[in-house]
């Protein structure tokens, strides 16, 4: 109980004093996660739409694989990305290890299956509604996917928010590929792991509270921007 109170106090203190380090790692967390999310959505949403409208032989296998990849342990992703980006690995020449870019790469791999899978489910249901109409109107495959992407946008927001939640709270992979370097790759979650390791629970908890607050603000903000739950169910 005392630790919880201390954590709240610490979070409050860091926020009101606009703690410079806190602002830095918070902004870095946001930058890394939002970049990864943007790329994941760019890939995952059309992929979900494509899987919804396209019937091909390996479709079920692809969907099953995608759903399995959601459960991929981040630490394993981190390790594999590390092995690729390590100086002695195949992509070592790029010199990306221990940079925010490496963290973005790991997060993209972690959240794209999740984003694509939720997007697929939403658009599959919409597709069963729209199927006859779009076929009748002779829409091309691209037009079908775009129509689903537009009209399922509320559900796709959920997909993006799920991806955001998973990425912003992820620590295992980015610890390995980012290295938690102070001033370069330290983000909220790795800082929390560090402070927990040091036994400074108040600071760790304070950072955790800020992380949760951030996730809430992003969720509220995007729902507000999309005006979900305001104009009926569609």
């Amino acid at each position: 109980m005392g630790d919880l109170l201390a954590g709240l106090t610490e979070a409050f203190r860091m926020i009101v004093t606009l703690d410079a380090e806190l602002i830095e790692i918070t902004l870095r967390s946001l930058r890394v996660t939002l970049t990864a999310l943007a790329i994941s959505c760019l890939v995952g949403l059309p992929l979900g739409g494509w899987l919804a409208v396209r019937r091909f032989r390996l479709r079920r296998a692809v969907i099953a694989t995608m759903n399995a990849l959601i459960g991929l342990p981040p630490v394993v992703v981190g390790l594999v990305v590390y092995l690729f980006l390590s100086r002695s690995g195949p992509l070592g020449v790029l010199g990306l290890l221990f940079t925010p870019t490496a963290m973005i790469v790991a997060q993209i791999i972690i959240i794209t299956p999740l984003v694509a899978s939720i997007a697929y489910q939403a658009m599959r249901d919409l597709w069963s509604d729209y199927h006859d109409l779009l076929i009748s109107m002779n829409a091309t495959r691209g037009q079908r996917i775009v129509t689903l992407l537009i009209d399922a946008r509320r559900a796709l927001l959920t997909a993006a928010l799920a991806g955001f939640g998973r990425a912003i709270g992820e620590v295992g992979a980015i610890m390995i590929v980012g290295g938690n370097i102070d001033g370069a790759t330290r983000v909220l979650t790795t800082a929390i792991a560090l402070e927990t390791g040091r036994g400074d629970f108040a600071l760790a908890l304070g950072l955790g509270i800020i992380l949760i607050a951030l996730a809430l603000i992003v969720s509220w903000g995007s729902h507000w921007a999309m005006r979900t739950e305001r104009q009926g169910t569609w």
Partner: protein, 237 residues
């Protein structure tokens, strides 16, 4: 512009899970007129319309247009028995088919507003389409189908579940459309409506054309006892 019609069905057959739903059907649809498809529930009216429109692939036989299939596709429109509303505003629903064909936003909007006026939809242009009433939804579906000025319109029970006033409104719009030169193929359960609109009749029974002919002769003197019974409102097995 070369006309897509006439449409010719030769031995066209539709099967599902080993069951023959339609056919074999031999039929020619000319360039003008209103063909009304009637028959008991489950006789295959919807299936026949969908097969003609190309939504269902034939298992046997052939559905042939006078132009290449790709061109024919562009000249048709379909109004479904259960209307499908895009989860957008009424205006966006109307603009949609034009936008698919590459019309600019401004062009599409101008034409959408014009057709909305004719179909009495102007007041609800900004409303989400899924929130329309049944009658309004049918008007929207019809307007959206006609905005591309198709050569032929398939309408599957466009007045089902509408009250008398709404039915009259839709009928007037359909009659106007046919008068303007659009070929109409329509399924209905409303014999009054069939009499008012039809130039030809197709009477379906068990997935086959049981009787067909000009509306006048069909309604005045049906050739088969089943058709006569159906017109009398008896149950036809």
């Amino acid at each position: 512009m070369v006309a897509a019609l006439p449409l010719t069905l030769t031995g066209a057959t539709l099967r599902r899970q080993g069951k023959t739903l339609i056919g074999p059907v031999d039929l020619t649809l000319g360039r003008i007129g209103v063909t009304v498809v009637i028959g008991p529930n489950g006789s295959g009216k919807t299936s026949l319309l969908r097969m003609m429109h190309g939504l269902q692939r034939t298992a046997d036989g052939h559905v042939g247009w006078s132009v290449a299939d790709a061109i024919a596709r562009e000249r048709q429109a379909y109004v479904f028995q259960r209307p499908i509303a895009l989860r957008r505003s009424v205006l966006a629903n109307l603009m949609f088919p034009l936008r698919l064909r590459g019309a600019s936003r401004a062009q599409a909007e101008a034409r959408a507003r014009a057709i909305a006026d004719r179909f009495d939809l102007t007041a609800m242009l900004a409303q989400p389409a899924p929130s329309l009433s049944g009658g309004e939804m049918q008007r929207l579906a019809l307007a959206r189908a006609l905005i591309t000025e198709p050569e032929i319109l398939f309408a599957d029970e466009p007045c089902a579940a509408l009250d008398g006033r709404a039915t009259r409104q839709i009928e007037a719009l359909l009659a106007g459309t046919a008068a303007a030169g659009t070929r109409l193929v329509m399924a209905t359960h409303d014999m009054g409506q069939a009499r008012r609109l039809a130039s030809d009749v197709i009477f379906l029974l068990h997935g086959r054309i049981h009787e067909t002919g000009p509306a006048k002769t069909f309604f005045a003197a049906p050739a088969t006892p089943e058709a006569e019974a159906f017109l009398n409102g008896d149950i036809v097995e």
